[in-house]
Amino acid sequence: MNFINQKNKLLEREKALANLKTMDQAAINQMIATLKKEHQALAYQEASEKNNDRQKNWHQLLKQNENQMSLLNQYAAVQYQRLVKSTAPKVPVLANTLRAFAVGGGICVLGQLVINYWILQGIEVKTAAGFASVTIVVLTGLLTGLGIYDEIGRFGGAGSMVPISGFANSVVSAALEFKREGMVYGIGAKIFTVAGPVILYGILASVVIGLIKFIMM
């Protein structure tokens, strides 16, 4: 196998690939078959080459070959997507939005009612908000365990996920799920699988905001 020859072949194909859209299926199939054949030969060349630098050169040709192949594969995937688009079930966006609004709004109304209750009990406004969060979290934990929050989530979608109850649901459901793998590798390791990103980036965001506040003062 000649290195320069091989390189030229790849360059020529690169030019042909620029006009991919005008090519017919038979030509594309032919090209895929040739690419496969060349890949195999290149891998063998690379493996039998004892010189390190030349081996790297062969490897570069091999990578070019792979890039061309992936271009063809992407093209085929796009073609396929056109076919799929007409058959894929439509997502009921409007209905989903209305449900999410109702459920999310309902949870927030409940939260407000709880705040008002704690204020009536003589607790300061700021502290009452914290108390309300705790109340909602405990309530969600209970509803998750009883299998009721699953139904609320199925109906409400994002509406049940975004408020703090969604966070509590994700933690409690993970705890329930992984208790069979034990307290350490099960619950201990997996309890925050869903909620982990919220915790990490929530803390990170609060640090950034704290810094901004510090600079502005």
């Binding site: 496969k36 054949k37 890949h39 195999q40 030969a41 891998a43 063998y44 690379e46 493996a47 490897h59 990578k63 069979r180 793998e181 034990g182 590798y185 099960g186």
Partner: protein, 335 residues
């Protein structure tokens, strides 16, 4: 049932000829006793890919491509590709099969996958369903560690019984017809569970399965004298010793004949503790060590016993013991 010897040994109507084979491996494997005998060495564990998983897939694809090129044929001449690896849902092999574009059976036999594949490939050829089959398996140290044990950069002290997953792959083309070496018969393994629960001690768990399969073969064929070696997949130093003792109890003295791929691939100095393991262990050692010797006539007949621990991280955490299997295939020099 004329294709059976005794109770459990499958005899192929004609030997499945090993027409071509190739092995790929990582740097650490090349620094071991078999260094220089692999067809291609990956310069590092990533080999220009975006992830270790992709690198493992390339290990396997290269092995298959080199084996095909050695034979002078292309992948579309393969009637059936059989293979597997240790990744979740055996993706490395499935992506290799995607490249090959051949009919494909994905196998999961953990580290016994190579022997399982050779046995099934021989069966397909013997049954007349295929003219040419390919078997390929792979494993990669880093993909196995992160999936089955700890993050690769974590500073942990490995148990003395732990084994080191081999970064490597082997591909074998099996055909009907004439040839120098071939698979002539084999034994399909049973699941044997000796109650071991420690997932850092696979050798101890798998030894019983290896003994069961070796005894099944020897009970059927009575040819211990004509076997040059009995080669187990990846029992490691500890499992190998247990296996030897158990065989002696069953009346088979195999002291000088029992070898283990997991012990052959690394040097004791390489700090791998109990030896090598993984789908790539027997796949690389067979192609780099035993098949060349069979081709040259230094060996006449070996029994390869691939050993697999069929556990999952979830089953271990749920307190289950380890179900193990061993598949045996006899590889002979034919002329």
């Amino acid at each position: 049932m004329n294709n059976r010897i005794g109770k459990r040994t499958w005899q192929f109507s004609a030997p499945a000829i090993i027409a071509s084979y190739a092995t790929t491996a990582g740097i650490k494997e090349n620094e071991g006793p078999l260094g220089g005998h692999f067809d291609f060495i990956f310069p590092d564990n990533l080999f220009d890919e975006a992830s270790w998983e992709k690198a493992e897939q390339k290990l396997q694809q290269y092995a298959l491509e080199i084996a095909l090129e050695k034979r002078g044929v292309e992948s579309d001449t393969i009637d059936c590709l059989l293979g597997g690896d240790l990744l979740n849902q055996i993706v490395a092999t499935s992506f290799t099969a995607r490249w090959a574009g051949t009919p494909y059976f994905g196998l999961y036999g953990a580290c016994s996958t190579l022997a399982e594949g050779l046995l099934l490939a021989g069966t397909l050829l013997s049954g007349g369903f295929a003219q040419r089959t390919a078997v390929c398996t792979s494993s990669h140290h880093d993909t196995a560690e992160r999936q089955l044990r700890f993050p690769t950069e974590m500073g942990v002290q490995r148990a003395m019984t732990a084994q080191w997953t081999v970064t490597g792959s082997g591909a074998y083309l099996l055909e009907k017809g004439q040839g120098n070496i071939g698979v002539t018969c084999g034994v399909c393994g049973k699941i044997i569970d000796n109650g071991t629960k420690n997932n850092m001690d696979m050798g101890t768990a798998m030894a019983s399965a290896a003994v069961d399969t070796i005894c099944a073969y020897l009970d059927d064929c009575h040819d211990l004298a004509s076997l040059d070696y009995i080669v187990t997949g990846d029992l490691g130093h500890i499992g190998w010793e247990i296996c030897q003792k158990m065989l002696l109890q069953r009346g088979y003295d195999v002291k000088n004949k029992l070898l283990d791929c997991g012990m052959l691939i690394y040097d004791k100095k390489q700090d791998t503790h109990a030896g090598g393991s993984g789908c790539g262990c027997s796949a690389t050692v067979l192609g780099a060590h035993f098949l060349p010797q069979l081709t040259e006539g230094k060996l006449k007949k070996i029994l390869l016993v691939g050993t697999g621990a069929l556990l999952s991280p979830t089953s271990t955490q749920q307190g289950e013991s380890i179900p193990c299997i061993a598949h045996g295939v006899v590889i002979e020099q034919l002329h």
